[in-house]
């Protein structure tokens, strides 16, 4: 059977995608920029940007000179790959053999598929129409060879379906670049005056091979069909989804637990193989009365531990109304992340204590609602209010730069103080109506504001101990001033 291939060219892949996501961005010229050797270069342009004369590889600064209101978006590395993969997977509905063609195209092996859509013309029209409807500016062509389809899609005039055997004719008026050649070869061809494929296609193969090398001949033959070319089809995307149906409707919590356990076992096994874990998962239950009920769980760290995940589900089971009974369970892992396997610490006494804390936190949070637990860790700032930050992920133990109180007040509270001037520790202070006589004191620790954030006076912090042996963290705002010296308490030591 003769092969039939489609080559699809996304003329503005990145920008079309971006405009699809941010419809407003389509109003003015848009480019993606990358940093290369310290220079901002244009990586991709939208059609509007192209029309103003901006091209790929141009310096962003130059482009801005041409069009000052240019919208510049940083290029997310490998974005084409991601996008094309997704688009390719979508195209699998048209053919099982779809391949991405970096940086801006897809290849579809359409052999034997077209009749399902009523012939090649309809088939091709359907694909381009659908992709265009998504907002992608595409050109597609079909031919017996990948090379010709590629060439015609990018450089051809009108005919987009090249019947078998007419490759040579189709290629003749096209520029050499249509043959997928590298730049050095193209320059050389240009210098020799070969502006179109027809200028050299008739020359003896040997004469061409000697001058332009094997790679050139290969590309030529691939386009003409003299050389076989294979494509690497995309795989079917892996989904973390398991289903379990039961003959008898299930109503009891215990039975539901068993169902969940089975599903988790399968999914967790799969996840463990891939070194991944669940961050969020949803259990969808189809009841015999055609109702659907769902419960979801979330974790503080990716987990593929059946027991732990089951515990989280167990907490939610009471909220699941089985009604007349459930006959189909579908468990979907919606958010999956790589599991960071903590290295075993042989000498560490606490062992996997951290892990246990994570698990405990998951459970508490499941009980009392998400967002109810806040954990803080030191942040590298001198200014006390900025020196803590919400815990996001476990990382290296952050150092504090100086002794800090165990309890830090969210807001410093004013106190009355008797202190010698100018910067000696105070002798007594009154806080919440109570007088504290200071027995011991250390300081001052002078902390300046982060000047790039705010202006204002520095603080002179003192660690003081009262007669009862309690320690406080107090400060004077700014230098001593006769009229208005303000003192505050900011924390308590144990």
């Amino acid at each position: 059977m003769t092969k039939r291939y489609i080559s699809i060219w996304f003329r503005h892949l990145l920008t079309d995608w971006y405009i699809r996501k941010h419809p407003d961005a389509g109003d003015s010229p848009l480019v993606f920029s990358t940093q290369q050797r310290g220079r901002q270069l244009i990586h991709a342009t939208s059609r509007k940007a192209e029309n103003t004369g901006i091209y790929c590889g141009m310096a962003v600064a130059d482009a801005k000179a041409i069009y000052p209101h240019l919208v510049i978006t940083p290029y997310p590395p490998d974005q084409e790959h991601h996008l094309l993969t997704a688009l390719g997977q979508w195209c699998i509905r048209y053919s099982p053999v779809v391949s991405i063609d970096l940086p801006d195209g897809l290849l579809i092996d359409a052999s034997g598929c077209t009749h399902l859509w009523g012939g090649e013309h309809n088939y091709l029209a359907e694909i381009t129409l659908k992709l265009s409807a998504y907002g992608y500016d595409v050109r597609a062509a079909m031919a017996d060879t990948i090379g010709t389809a590629w060439a015609v899609a990018r450089y051809g005039n009108d005919a987009t379906i090249i019947p078998g055997g007419l490759e040579r004719k189709a290629l003749r008026p096209l520029p050499p670049a249509a043959l997928r050649l590298d730049d050095t070869l193209l320059t050389k061809l240009q210098q020799l005056g070969f502006h179109k494929i027809e200028d050299f296609i008739h020359l003896p193969i040997n004469a061409l091979k000697r001058r332009f090398g094997q790679a050139f001949i290969l590309r030529l033959k691939q386009a003409l069909g003299g050389e076989r070319e294979d494509i690497l089809p995309l795989g079917i995307p892996s989904v973390y989804e398991e289903r379990l149906s039961s003959l008898d409707p299930i109503k009891t919590a215990k039975a539901i637990t068993i169902a969940i356990t089975r599903l988790l076992d399968v999914i967790c096994f799969k996840l463990q193989q891939e070194g991944k874990g669940i961050r969020t998962a949803t259990l969808t239950c189809y009841r015999i009365d055609d109702q659907v009920v769902q419960i979801s769980i979330g974790t503080n760290g990716a987990s593929n531990n059946t027991t732990h995940l089951l515990k989280l589900f167990e907490l939610k089971i009471p909220s699941l109304a089985p009604g007349p009974g459930i006959d189909l369970f579908i468990l979907q892992a919606l958010l999956v992340e790589d599991v960071i396997s903590e290295q075993e610490k042989i000498w560490s006494a606490t062992g996997s204590a951290d892990n246990n804390i994570t698990k405990l936190l998951d459970r508490i949070e499941s009980k009392i609602g998400s967002g109810s637990i806040q954990r803080y860790q030191p942040a590298e700032h001198y200014w006390p209010e900025l020196s803590i930050q919400p815990f996001t992920a476990p990382n290296d133990h952050q150092q504090v730069n100086a002794p800090r109180p165990d309890k830090l007040l969210p807001q410093p509270l004013p106190i009355e103080v008797t202190a010698p001037i100018p910067d000696y520790p105070p002798m007594l202070f009154r806080f919440m109506g109570q007088l504290h006589e200071i027995k011991k004191a250390d300081g001052p620790e002078r902390i300046e504001r982060e000047w790039w954030l705010e202006d204002g006076a520095h603080r002179d912090y003192y660690i003081v101990e009262d007669a009862a042996g309690r320690r406080y963290w107090i400060f004077r705002l700014g230098h001593y001033a006769v009229s208005q010296t303000q003192w505050f308490i900011h924390g308590f030591f144990a």
Binding site: A177, Q191, F212, R446
Partner: protein, 1036 residues
């Protein structure tokens, strides 16, 4: 004395200190410190500046260093006497030479080797461990230091205000008692006043390559590292008064002053049993005889005697001899050189061959250039051929040795752009905003204001941007790195390392000292500038060509002087390629000035400079010269100074003399004034001087407007000082190059092309200029060309010039040598070149350059042949026919003329075949666009349209945003003037165009024709379309 600050980090500890040494000294003086130490990190680079500033304030500096060691805690090192200072300098040299430029690698053992006579202070870490104690390593090191340094050791205590000061002091006190090392109070000063903390934080960010928000604990916690008053220090150390007393003790022990460093001239320059003066006298008379024959003119011998007396009085003989020695070497090697500078145009220098400016032609009073008020050496710069200067430099190294001769440093200062980049990065500005700002600031403006933000469409009220503006302005003028001076050499009799540390330069085989020329001058050391000048290379090459092809024996001194034809050519602004006067600005000045004598050239060289332009002196001078304005002098006393320049001050010396005579400046003050303008920072000082100058002049009866102009002129001289003495030396080269161009345009053009890159113009302009002057130019060819451009047999008036392979981009000289070696009877086929060993890539480049015409191949055929060469039989099979030989003849697509021209431009950046614009003439004419020739012949005031390739685009800083453009078509060149508002409007067209079309008004002033542009169009598309094959469609 109450307390002395002994730990001060200035901004010569790059990216650490946040104040200039001068600022620190000034602050210290304000607090009444009689003496302070400067202790930069592993360097003495900032001490001379501090020393000079301190002397002015009646203070003393202890030149020290913070020794940052690889294997131990840092030490402050303060030399007690001259010998100890020499050892410190040698110690730092050791560390410098051990590693790459900009670093200094020191170990404890090095310090032990050079410790004698140096007072050391241990710098303890600012942090304590969990047990509120110093870690054991530190304690061990303290013990070791004590054993090594004995009583010359102290232990520094700093109030850090980081919360643990009490505990640290307690621990330090413990250590001090345990090892019997006296505690010493310091404040680890990093800036002179508290407000500099922000800048210091930014410097830290630059050093640590992070933004201010990421910097965290890399910054200092507070702003306590400023210079504190002695009383405050005493209060802070009230519990440890002995630590305060110790500072006095150390300061008293360290009595060494930089003033005691003595400069001794090298002895090698002397013959046996002669004093320098005897030897100079002998050489001078000997030289005079050579120049003038046995009857030396009276005026000359009088001048020589006069100068010798002066030299004797000032003790400068050795200096002249040292310069003479270097010049003698250059001449023995056939290296062309020419001296300039204050003393270089003396009669003696003429006799010694240091300059070729004939003193009889040029009346310059010797003392006018050497200020006897200040006991400093005269300044002689010597320019050498740029391609051969290295030979001279290596001669100096070889003669005096690397430990006695070195290049002085240049302190690279932060310019606005660099400062903006550093501050902007630290403050987290986006790359785009930064680029936007950075593009907007002109490289040589030195302030950055809100206006700029507004122009760039940024919000001037944004607090972050306001900080950026403020900090950038503070950082401008900060030293950023030590580079090597372009050629300033210091040569001594004794070890140079006893005077100043030496460090590796980035260039191989070069070493330089840490001090720059001002430092050297302040200490009265000898410096000779060994400079490189491209024009000298060009002139030497021209002399060689003139000898080979015209049998002339030319030297700088024997070129026929004052030839009216040369001045006529110059007056017609026919000066492409000529030294100095080839720029657009100069060219438009020439027809107005119409130089007729050598001194006119001196003025011409000096007049188109920021000084006279900013001082608004150019037009008054021109008016007076053309008799449109009466020559009058502001006063009798100024007539003497301004006599030669028609009452208008044009030279730096004149402006300074005016300050002295009319505003009662002392010579030293006038010099300081000039210098303070050259540096960016000393703003306050400049304002003071401005007041003094203007008030002084007004008081003495001068018009305030004139005083203002003199001041602005001085300001202009500050950055690009251009004294008469330099102008005179340059004027000689102007005349010599003009003479060559006038009578031997073939020789001149070849010499310029062979000395490229140099000058304003591209090879294409030099070639087309030569053709316009009747020189036949022949294309590059494998059978006729060499690497250099050469002259062939006479064709018409002049020799034909054959373009050399150096004009072809991408070719290497070695490959071409191979080609020339094997050429013998000439090549007849491409195979022969391949057999000669030329690489395919080289042959391809030759083919693309169309260099195979002499064997009957055009570029396309040649390329077709070359690309098949790789299966040409070689070695064993050499000589056998290849498969290619049996190939059927193939007809390649014919190459159109436009395609050829485009290829010519791509390979040699010029085409002898045709001008690209000629192919577009029909299209352009249809649009009523004139040729440049038509424009240049048109009458004043008519509207014109003209198009051409953009040759030069200049926006000089002195022209208030005006852009000068030169365009070229097949008939010649045309000069465009684009005013600021038009430039802003058509910026993208102007900057993007290769082919520019403009509409504008023709302005004719005598022979000078300009088009005052009103609209610009980018016509580059036409050029591209020239080679695009119609019908082909390119979607990309």
């Amino acid at each position: 004395m109450k307390y002395i600050e002994l730990q001060i980090t200035s901004n010569f500890s790059f990216l650490r200190g946040a104040s200039h040494p001068e600022e620190l000294v000034e602050q210290a003086a304000l607090y009444g410190y009689p003496v302070i130490a400067i202790t930069d990190h592993n360097t003495l680079a900032g001490v001379v500046r501090a020393h000079v500033a301190a002397k002015a304030k009646g203070m003393r500096i202890i030149p020290g260093a913070t020794l940052v060691l690889q294997d131990g805690p840092s030490l402050l090192a303060l030399p007690t006497d001259k010998a100890a200072y020499g050892r410190l300098s040698r110690l730092l040299t050791t560390g410098n030479l051990r590693t790459e430029k900009g670093k200094c690698e020191l170990y404890k053992n090095d310090v032990y080797t050079y410790q004698e006579g140096i007072q050391f202070i241990i710098v303890p870490p600012h942090e304590l461990n969990d047990k509120f104690d110093f870690d054991n390593n530190f304690k061990q090191a303290v013990k070791e230091y004590k054993a090594a340094f004995g009583t010359s050791l102290s232990l520094a205590a700093v109030r850090t205000y980081q919360g643990l000061d009490q505990k640290r002091f307690f621990r330090l006190h413990e250590l001090s008692r345990q090892y019997n090392i006296p505690l010493i109070a310091t404040n680890d000063v990093h800036y002179h006043e508290q407000s500099r903390r922000e800048l210091q934080d930014v410097l830290t960010c630059t050093r640590e390559k992070c933004t201010i928000t990421q910097a965290g604990f890399k910054l200092h916690a507070n702003a306590e590292r400023y210079m504190k008053a002695p009383e405050e220090m005493i209060r802070l150390f009230r519990q440890y008064p002995e630590a305060i007393d110790r500072t006095i003790e150390i300061a008293n022990a360290c009595q060494f002053s930089l003033d005691t460093l003595e400069y001794i001239y090298p002895e090698e320059i002397l013959d046996k049993n002669k004093t320098p003066l005897q030897q100079l006298t002998d050489l001078a008379w000997q030289g005079a005889t050579e120049h003038f024959g046995n009857t030396i003119p009276d005026s000359i011998s009088k001048a020589i005697k006069h100068e010798l007396t002066f030299i004797e009085e000032m003790n400068y003989a050795s200096y002249f001899l040292t310069v003479y020695d270097i010049v003698k070497f250059a001449r023995s090697q056939g290296i062309l050189c020419q001296g300039r500078g204050s003393a270089a145009n003396s009669t003696i220098c003429y006799c010694l061959g240091i300059t070729a400016v004939d003193p009889t032609k040029f009346d310059l009073l010797f003392e006018r250039f050497i200020s006897s008020a200040r006991n400093e050496p005269p300044d002689i710069d010597v320019d050498f051929e740029h391609e051969r200067r290295e030979e001279v430099i290596q001669y100096i190294y070889n003669k005096y040795g690397r430990n006695r001769a070195a290049i002085v440093a240049t302190v690279t200062q932060q310019h606005l752009k660099g400062a903006l980049r550093d501050v902007g990065k630290a403050m987290g500005l986006s790359v785009d905003t930064l680029q936007q700002l950075s593009k907007a600031v002109n490289r040589h403006t030195d302030t950055f204001d809100e206006q700029l933000l507004i122009e760039q469409g940024l919000n001037p009220d944004d607090p972050n941007l306001r900080k950026v503006v403020a900090l950038t302005n503070q950082m401008i003028g900060f030293p950023r790195q030590l580079g090597q001076h372009t050629g300033g050499f210091i040569i001594t009799q004794d070890q140079l390392t006893d005077l100043c540390p030496i460090l590796n330069a980035r260039m191989e085989d070069r070493t330089n000292i840490e001090w720059n020329k001002d430092d050297i001058e302040a200490l009265g050391f000898l410096k000779i500038d060994i400079l490189a000048l491209g024009m000298l290379t060009c002139i030497r090459k021209a002399f060689v060509l003139a000898r080979e092809h015209y049998g002339l024996q030319l030297t700088l001194a024997n070129i026929p002087q004052d030839d009216p034809r040369v001045y006529e050519m110059i007056s017609n602004a026919d000066t492409i390629g000529v030294f100095q006067i080839e720029s657009r600005a100069q060219q438009s000045m020439l027809p107005r000035l119409r130089p007729k004598t050598f001194y006119d050239l001196v003025i011409e060289v000096a007049i188109v400079r920021p000084g006279p332009i900013q001082g608004d002196m150019v037009h008054p001078y021109l008016r007076r010269r053309n008799g449109e304005e009466a020559v009058e002098y502001p006063s009798k006393e100024l007539e003497e100074i301004l006599g030669k320049t028609l009452g208008v001050p044009l030279f730096q010396e004149q402006a300074m003399k005016i300050a002295i005579v009319a505003a009662e400046f002392t010579p030293a003050e006038a010099d300081l004034l000039r210098r303070s303008m050259a540096t960016f920072k000393a703003k306050g000082q400049v304002t003071q001087f401005e007041k003094k100058l203007i008030d002084g002049m007004v008081k003495n009866g001068y018009k305030p407007a004139f005083a203002q102009r003199v001041f602005r002129q001085l300001e202009g001289f500050g950055a690009y000082g251009f004294p008469e003495s330099h102008a005179a030396s340059f004027a000689l080269l102007v005349y010599v190059s003009s003479w060559l161009k006038c009578f031997y345009p073939d020789v001149f053009a070849s010499a310029i092309l062979n000395s490229m890159p140099m000058g304003f113009y591209q090879p294409a302009q030099i070639v087309s200029d030569a053709r316009n002057h009747g020189v036949e130019v022949r294309p590059v060819d494998i059978n006729h060309s060499s690497w250099d451009n050469t002259l062939e047999e006479k064709s018409g008036l002049y020799c034909a010039m054959r373009l050399g392979f150096r004009q072809v981009s991408g070719l290497r000289e070695n490959d071409i040598n191979l080609l020339v070696q094997h050429r013998a009877a000439g090549y007849t086929s491409i195979n022969q070149l391949y057999d000669a060993g030329l690489q395919l890539s080289t042959l391809e480049k030759l083919a693309n350059a169309d260099a195979f015409r002499s064997i009957g191949l055009d570029r396309r055929k040649a390329l077709w042949e070359v690309s098949a060469l790789h299966d040409h039989p070689i070695a064993l099979f050499a000589g056998q026919p290849s498969e290619t030989a049996y190939e059927a003849q193939i007809t390649l697509p014919l190459m159109s003329m436009p395609e050829h021209v485009v290829q010519d431009y791509a390979t040699t950046s010029l085409s002898l075949k045709a001008h690209p614009v000629s192919f577009l003439r029909e299209q352009l004419s249809a649009l009523h666009i004139l040729t440049t020739q038509e424009v240049n012949n048109a009458v004043n005031g008519i509207p014109v349209k003209v198009a051409g390739l953009v040759l030069v685009r200049q926006r000089p800083g002195t022209a208030s945003g005006v852009c000068f453009i030169t365009i070229e078509d097949e008939t010649g060149c045309c000069n465009l003037v684009v005013f600021q508002h038009i430039f802003t409007r058509f910026k993208s067209d102007i900057t993007q165009s290769k082919l520019l079309m403009v509409e504008g008004m023709l302005q004719r002033e005598g022979q000078v024709v300009h088009v005052i542009v009103s609209k610009c169009y980018n016509f580059s598309k036409l050029l591209r379309n020239m080679t695009v094959i119609p019908g082909s469609r390119d979607f990309k």
